[in-house]
Symmetry: C2
Subunit: 381 residues, 2 copies
């Protein structure tokens, strides 16, 4: 906490350690440490029971502190991220096994990635043989080795080469390229994570598993084995985990949860995994302009509404009904809210919400235990 | 540029000065300096022609550099912002006349505000007499004076007391409170800014003008004059500016523009003000996974989609059709986009988009001229 003690509460950080909820400058991003630790433990046990590795996605939290805890306490073999600048932040924060689960094509970014591979195991995705010359050149120039996953489009319709023969041919090219090591397949079905109907979600993942399984078999016939067959998210991981095809899960949101994944869990009978809300935006009531209505200080710049409005936590009868840039409109038919009262909001979508804040305010037993910086906040390049 | 030279291009900043567009690490937030300067000048002349003052809203840009230019070159008398932490960042950046166009109720925030008033003219809004004791106590404790606008709800349905008698009674209470100075009315109609139909928008503002005018008259009868009658935004300012009631305009988006305000301008026959696109998110093509489709590296964490998807700038036939956290799906029926090609996006909504980035990359004649930090990025408390 030494580095923190030089920071000014209010301007630099939203709270001092030891502060009570009512003393936190709002809006602030809260972690309930007990719930967070239970989520870590639940996922550790789930992966262990399924006999697969866990490589949690740091795109959710962008925090080197949380990534370290996922490895030290949460059973993770390494960390996933999406951007080179995130990988840089994680390696600077002490993480030594990082997958950039994404394509990287810019020559300057490839140079940064190859330098990083001198300090840590670095794995990256390709979906096009045109990527290989620049990637190889960067690795050779720095004398580093970059591991490569061939990304297949297993139904998500975003990046990725076609499964089957095109993926096999690309993998053979990777294996033959100096400075690169073929490490396996990236087979993530993003949209499936958010399908509320469990049967539809299972069908989407079954399709992904079939395409991935066939590609793994073709690679085997060509003499290539997949150290990593990676994918899955918080919405679908038991399906990939039990498939016998995937061996690394890349779930991110499980540490925090959000209102979107709650809807999916509810449809699923509380499964998968029974994760708890560990992340909140703490907001204060700043105006009571009319009966039945209150205005709070958390708007679009403190919570992302791409997956819907936040849910008010643990406060019967109060709802967040309208968002503007710096305000939230709360309906409060019983007029129970007082000015300056703190209210916890469960964000609609945790990942882009965390990316709005500089600090996690970590609470236990109603007090601030510590603050963690959002290490890679804004690192999108 | 001395402070910048110690920063690492790639990790710390997205570009060096002198760099070409193709060398900028993406996604990055671009300002076209020529267009930006023309926008400053257009608004300066518009306010001058209407005989009203300009107090531009820094919630749009959160930049002390831009606020300074608005005052030095753009004719502004001072700056508006929404949060105490923004005011702190602006005062640290040299701005000496700051309106927090919002209610502030937390005692710690009021203490911060009163301290700030020792260094700069500070104006804040109230909509409830319950706010006055804490505000007065903070001012008296620091020996500073805080100017107060009574905020009225002139149709926006967010904060604000009722116009007319309730506003007059609150103003009289303010005027009688030690440490505070009654400075006028805050009468901003936010939703009206985004009404596309010009007649409907004019009707909404006409309603606001009537309510404000009546309140000003009541205050006059009670012996209170309004130094400031403030409000207006980029969508409506000619209406408030010519009303004879408002004397300070708080427009923010005019310096940058965005896709939402473009729709409003188009419906308005290019008015109000003829402002140009000066703000872009620069993105790179990172994958060409299928014919007719490309994937770029700017998603939800680089542009806010609350007011719709971004518009592709100056690139015939290409459209941004789908967003995920770190990716954008581009439709490109002619297959014209190459991997690593830079594309400019006009964000749907400029304010929350700027709040996602750490740096403005300021370009002129195709080169990076300078970088400006987004001084108050994330300062929402």
């Amino acid at each position: 906490m030494d580095a923190l003690s030089s920071l000014e509460v209010g301007y630099d950080v939203p709270a001092a350690t030891g502060a009570r909820l009512e003393e936190i400058q709002t809006p602030a991003l809260l972690i309930d440490l007990d719930a967070f630790e239970r989520n870590l433990e639940r996922m550790r046990r789930a992966a262990e029971a399924m006999g697969v590795r866990l490589r949690p996605h740091a795109k959710t939290h962008k925090s080197a502190d949380i990534a370290r805890l996922q490895i030290e306490r949460g059973g993770a073999c390494g960390i996933s991220c999406q951007k080179v600048s995130e990988a840089e932040a994680l390696v600077r924060g002490g993480i030594r096994d990082v997958l950039v689960a994404n394509e990287v094509r810019d020559p300057v970014k490839l140079d940064r990635l190859a330098r990083l591979a001198l300090q840590a195991r670095i794995i990256v995705c390709v979906d096009d043989a045109g990527a290989l010359p620049d990637l190889s050149r960067a690795a050779l120039q720095h004398g580093s080795t970059i591991e490569v996953l061939v990304e297949i489009d297993c139904g998500a319709g975003r990046c990725g080469t076609q499964p089957g023969e095109p993926a096999r041919d690309l993998a053979l090219r990777v294996a033959a390229t100096p400075g690169l090591v073929f490490a396996g397949l990236q087979a993530y079905h993003g949209p499936a994570q958010h399908i509320v109907d469990p049967a539809e979600r299972a069908a989407a993942i079954a399709g992904a598993v079939t395409l991935t399984e066939r590609t793994v078999a073709l690679l085997g016939e060509a003499g290539l084995s997949c150290g990593i067959v990676g994918g899955a998210g918080t919405g679908s991981f038991p399906l990939e985990g039990r498939s016998g095809v995937y061996n690394e899960l890349q779930c991110g949101s499980y540490v925090f949860m959000d209102a979107d994944y709650e809807r999916i869990r509810a449809a699923d009978g509380g499964r998968p995994g029974g994760f708890e809300n560990a992340l909140f935006v703490l907001t204060s009531v700043m105006s009571r302009p009319a009966p039945g209505r209150a205005v709070c200080d958390a708007g679009l710049k403190s919570l992302s509404t791409d997956s819907g409005l936040p849910r008010v936590f643990d406060r019967e009868g109060v709802a967040y009904v309208g968002v503007s840039d710096e305000h939230g409109n709360l309906s409060d038919p019983g007029d129970t809210l007082r000015v300056n009262e703190r209210v916890r909001l469960v964000p609609g979508h945790c990942d882009p919400t965390c990316n709005l804040h500089d600090w996690y305010v970590c609470i236990r037993d109603g007090r601030v235990e510590t603050l963690w910086p959002v290490t890679a906040r804004g690192k999108s390049w």
